[in-house]
């Protein structure tokens, strides 16, 4: 895999440029499509257990579509398992099936790659990227590392001595650390990444000074950072993030190319007519412009990363290249 590395980096950079520009385009739009036709009944598959991130997003979509009268009836079905790939394997074969949507996202993309499943995201029709969560790197308040550069320098000097807590193997957290390490000239596989299960485990380890640093979505650490118990060194956004005031952005620390977020999207089975596909895209675009959706985003502190239709499809291809590149270097994809 070493031979392809320069090629991968080039592809990643290309993807990044596209991401940044696509993001700008996505959020600049949002005028709302008044011409969206009302959908009759919809079944949205949440590919994880009730209460999970995907479940919450699916139910927020359900709520907003109904409130804005964009669909008469929306049902959410939970099909949990194996990073969403169980649900993917269930939805993908139903080619041309009407009124069926599925939540998807970075975790599913990574799950497909690391589990080596036969069915992939190519077997779905992209409808829209909805939301995202930026990643942040934190250290305990008493840590000697004041800036991201201090931490990166320590990793470079002796990676073993700098254990970094994050989510499970192949999670957004590890992908982000991998991308950043690569950009900083560190072999991603050398980083001493210690997986913790979601929720409080990693925070506990950080508060107890058991690990040198932690990486997770901003929501995970923001309260500890506000309380001064943890110090955030960087947030993976190009522009300052509201929930993490005063924290340097990825551009501030000199790695603008590593802008990154854990995105969630909505997709449909393949084999739809152009008309059906347009109906979905129109409905979701109108939902994005609705007041209900805007309120939800604000309440849940979700970042708006809306991008719909073919533009989303193009971006997806680039993200796939970047994610599979770093997962391969991490040894998680064979």
């Amino acid at each position: 895999m070493r031979i392809t590395r320069t090629g991968t980096i080039a592809a990643v950079l290309a993807a990044l440029v596209a991401t940044v520009s696509a993001c700008g385009g996505g959020s600049a739009k949002g005028g709302g499509d008044q011409g969206a036709k009302q959908l009759a009944r919809l079944n949205i598959i949440a590919p994880a257990a009730p209460g999970s991130g995907w479940d919450q997003t699916a139910r927020a979509v359900q709520d907003s579509l109904q409130k804005a009268d964009l669909a008469r009836q929306v049902e959410v079905t939970n099909v949990p398992g194996a990073s969403g790939t169980v649900a993917l394997a269930q939805v993908a074969p139903q080619k041309g099936k009407k009124d069926l949507l599925i939540m998807s996202g970075l975790a599913m993309m990574s799950g497909v790659l690391t589990n080596g499943t036969d069915v992939t995201l190519d077997d779905l029709t992209p409808v829209a990227r909805l939301i995202g969560e930026y990643e942040t790197i934190v250290v305990p308040a008493s840590s000697p590392y004041q800036k991201l550069d201090d931490l990166l320098a320590a990793i470079k000097a002796d990676p073993k001595k700098v254990p970094i807590a994050g989510g499970s193997a192949g999670s957004a957290d590890q992908i982000f650390i991998g991308l950043l390490a690569k950009e900083a000239g560190i072999d991603p596989a050398k980083v001493n990444y210690v997986p913790f299960s979601g929720g409080g485990e990693a925070t506990t380890a950080l508060l107890g000074n058991k690990v040198a640093a932690g990486v997770a979505g901003t929501g995970e650490f923001q309260e500890q950072v506000k309380a001064g118990k943890l110090r955030a060194l960087v947030v993976s956004a190009a522009k300052p993030v509201e929930s993490m005031p005063g924290v340097p952005t990825i551009a501030d620390v000199g790695h603008p190319g590593v802008e990154f977020y854990n995105w969630r999207s909505i997709m449909a089975p393949n084999g739809l007519t152009a008309e059906q596909k347009k109906a979905y895209v129109d409905a979701v675009t109108a939902m994005h412009a609705s007041d209900g959706w805007k309120t939800t985003l604000k309440e849940r502190a979700w970042e708006d990363t809306f991008l719909a239709g073919d533009e989303f499809g193009t971006w997806l291809g680039q993200e796939q290249t970047r994610v599979s590149g770093v997962l391969t270097e991490l040894g998680l994809v064979k």
């Binding site: 394997a89 254990p163 506000k226 998680l332």
Partner: protein, 511 residues
């Protein structure tokens, strides 16, 4: 977090008619799902989340807390009466509790479980109210090596569960450890023992394993050996809840169970099972009649039942003071907070005092409701054993299968449950104890995780495993506990041999 006035204000919130109603609904729903095999509090709260969207936050959380505590109560009932634990926290209860029920002492077992749960829940909630910030400061000081030491200690309970044949006991344990390996390895992302099945990538759910081995296994066994298996209940009518002797033997295990369960709840070291394992083996060690364990020792019910309730309260300490969930249910409650736009963290108490103190006060109230609800029900529950066996076991089988399907809505889980159930039947048929398998399947992955995490953090340095005072203390204790009785036995035997007394074999039993 140590203001009596704040707590009183909390009671003012919790004691409104509407909130009392939510507490009542929560405790009843919690008890019901605790009784039903397979459906746990985490899933129930998650399913209720979208429905509570329109409720006041305080009302919703009071209801959730009731569900959380209620499930801990309800789980013990089926464990004791039918040997079919509904939750992983009441596996241990099934062992001695069911033996007691079969010996006609079901009412005493249910009463000691209910009162122990009440006592533990109340003490632990009190600790939560007065000392949460200080406790959490201590809790975060423990790291992976310390958790590993706890797991090793918990493994000791296997010794109490092996039954008559060491070989069969260890075979069962080994099988459990292997089952624990199934699925994606958390640390490396590699799939293990998945046999190419996507459905197995997340591993075999512990609750499914418990329900399959205990409930389905039991149903099949009863069906196959109808004549041989009887309940042997002499007379339920004359059964007293607890005799003076029962009280005398129960109060210390209740307190010790609380002392184990509460602190373990505050750290992310497995769920409610680990403290019940620890409590059980502690009670057996301390008992003057260890041979009764496995044959209906009331201490074996009182201790673990107190431990799992204290554990539930303990899990709320890091949740409310730091926003850190240490159990599956706490994680779902965290999501519920976020649904209301509340971000639990170090400042939650300052930003939402009414909510937090209302929640704590409602835990006291919920606990009292549960005791009042459960004690009179004891007689009713015991009557359940009078249902003719074909109906009773058909019902258990139905609920187990529906429960397995309901969790993920997947027929694969139903087939898996049946496979595990058949395994459970054959294990029982050929005298293999079931408990070691479950202990292995639960503790094996936890111990592996902590061991590898500890070594990862230390860059592969083995000395990290004994690098903290806590680990040194635990391992020293372990060596003492293992070696001293052996030495004592050796000395007694020598003395007896010198005196010409034959050494009696220790009696043992199969779980």
């Amino acid at each position: 977090m140590d203001g009596i006035s704040e707590l009183l204000a909390g009671f003012a919130v919790a004691l409104t008619l509407a909130n009392l109603g939510y507490a009542l609904i929560g405790t009843i729903v919690g008890t019901m799902i605790g009784v039903l095999p397979g459906i746990g509090p985490a899933l129930t709260i998650a399913l209720l989340l979208p429905l509570t969207y329109g409720l006041e936050p305080s009302g919703a959380f009071i209801m959730f807390a009731g569900i959380y505590y209620g499930a801990m109560y309800g789980g013990s009932t089926t464990s004791i009466l039918l040997k079919t634990p509904g939750e992983s926290g009441s596996i241990i209860t099934a062992i001695d509790g069911n033996k007691m029920a079969r010996a006609g002492r079901g009412a005493a077992a249910l009463a000691t479980a209910a009162i122990g749960s009440f006592l533990a829940g109340t003490i632990a909630t009190g600790l939560l109210a007065v000392a949460a910030p200080r406790i959490v400061d201590l809790a975060v000081r423990l790291g992976a090596p310390d958790y590993l030491a706890l797991m090793v200690l918990a493994f000791m309970c296997v010794g109490s569960l092996l039954g008559g044949s060491m070989l069969r006991g260890f075979a069962s344990l080994g099988l459990g450890l292997a089952i624990g390996l199934v699925g994606i390895d958390f640390q490396s992302g590699q799939a293990r023992l998945d046999f190419g099945l996507v459905r197995l990538l997340d591993g075999i759910d512990t609750v499914l394993l418990i329900v399959g081995l205990f409930a389905i296994g039991e149903v099949l066994y009863v069906a196959a050996h109808q004549q041989a298996s009887t309940f042997g209940i002499a007379s339920v009518a004359g059964q007293r809840w607890m005799t003076r002797e029962d009280w005398r033997r129960s109060w210390k295990p209740w307190l010790r169970g609380t002392a184990i369960g509460f602190p373990l709840g505050t750290i992310p070291a497995g769920g409610s099972e680990v403290p019940t394992f620890l409590s059980y083996s502690l009670e057996r060690r301390l008992s003057r009649r260890p041979e009764e364990f496995g044959n209906g020792a009331i201490e074996g019910v009182a201790g673990p039942e107190a431990a799992n309730n204290a554990n539930a309260a303990g899990a709320l300490v890091p949740l409310l003071t730091l926003g850190i969930p240490t159990s599956a249910t706490a994680a779902v409650i965290l999501v519920a907070f976020q649904q209301y736009g509340i971000q639990p963290g170090p400042q939650l108490l300052d930003t939402e005092p009414a909510l937090v103190w209302g929640l704590i006060a409602s835990l006291f109230i919920g606990n009292a409701i549960l005791l009042v609800l459960n004690l009179p029900l004891v007689g009713l529950w015991v009557k359940m054993l009078h249902i003719p066996k074909p109906y009773l076991y058909a019902g258990i089988g139905l609920f187990a299968l529906v429960g397995a399907y309901a969790v993920n809505g997947s027929s694969f889980d139903v087939y898996l449950l049946l496979v595990v159930g058949v395994l459970g039947y054959f294990m029982r048929r050929f005298g293999f104890p079931i408990a070691p398998l479950i202990v292995g399947a639960i503790l094996g992955p936890l111990a592996e995780l902590q061991l590898r995490r500890a070594l990862d953090i230390a860059g592969g340095d083995l000395t990290t495993l004994v690098s903290t005072p806590f680990t040194v203390a635990v391992y020293s204790l372990l060596v003492l506990v293992l070696c001293v009785p052996a030495l004592l036995r050796l000395r007694t035997r020598r003395a007896q041999q010198a005196a010409g007394v034959p050494t009696p074999d220790r009696e043992s039993s199969t779980v």
